[in-house]
Amino acid sequence: MDKKFTIYGTELRSRLMIGSALYPSPDCMLKAIQASGAQIVTLSLSRQNPQAKGGQDFWNMIKTLGLHLLPNTAGCHSVDEAVNMAKISRELFQTDWIKLELVGDDYNLQPDPIELIKATEILLNDGFKVLPYCTDDLVIARHLVELGCKVIMPWGSPIGTGKGIMNPYAIQAIRDRFPDVTLIIDSGIGKPSHATQAMEMGVDGILLNTAIAQAHHPITMAQAFSQAIDAGRLGYLSGLINERSTASPSTPTLDQPIWHQPHYG
């Protein structure tokens, strides 16, 4: 029996969460999100430009999907910025979910762990359900869990790099140490096999954007990721074999009709 995938008590069928940025066209975005089967879509905030009507069209499209909305605080560098943006998002999107991003360095968009902890505490105390984007540092994860986060979202690798899980040991350590927390890989997944790898490790879900939106065929790539995530989860639940350093025949050799001398070449 599989454990339910939950975000602060909300049960979800799909373990894939999808971003709404970087698609070649709005229509492609809509179809890719639908093809992914995701029930959560991420989005952000910007100043309006009434001359460019795209903003309103985007909002109308997102509404037609009927999905859970997960606003982010992308681009924020300070606690004040992130807290302000979270409050604006709550008002605009009528949700207390917030994907908390606090950039610590513009080179690799690495989350700032110190500011992240401060902002998380403020937002949790204000009633938000915080989904913090963090590095794969076990101690940062511990602080977030101790503050009350029910979800943590470490990177696999920096946003948009597509490098997959750079440090499987670190992700596994977080998984093993906090088995009851909803663990989601939030960035760096580049191909379906990366997602499968993460799910086989016992990760609960994957948040994706670039790998789908920038694929040559985003709609079929969304399907590929959906299936890869399901396959990885099923593999995890089925119990993976232990690796061995020596070969072991899978075909029984006892009473084989053609006998041969052992070969030690």
């Binding site: 971003g19 709404s20 940025a21 970087l22 698609y23 975005m29 991420t42 989005l43 952000s44 905030l45 910007s46 100043r47 309006q48 430009n49 009434p50 001359q51 009507k53 903003g55 309103q56 985007f58 909002w59 997102i62 606003p71 982010n72 992308a74 302000n84 409050k87 604006i88 008002e91 605009l92 999107f93 946003i159 954007n209 670039t210």
Partner: protein, 69 residues
């Protein structure tokens, strides 16, 4: 002659009549729903849009949804 003063909306300077209310200013700007406002970098709940009085050099930011990852 109508008295005017200058404010900025989303970083664009804009002259408005002194007796204009915030909802009229937003209509003039072309704001579309849904949006959230910041006045001088401070979040203004929707329930207070009709009550605020604008002053010279006020900075209004009209915020809405955009694509995000």
């Amino acid at each position: 002659m109508t008295n005017t003063f200058e404010i900025t909306i989303n970083n664009v300077p804009c002259k408005i009549d002194t007796n204009m209310r915030l909802p009229e200013v937003l209509t003039l700007f072309g704001a579309y729903h849904p949006y959230v406002l910041l006045i001088n970098h401070t979040f203004l709940p929707n329930s207070k849009h009709n009550t605020i009085e604008l002053k010279p050099d006020d900075r209004i930011e009209v915020i809405s949804a955009i694509q995000g990852g």
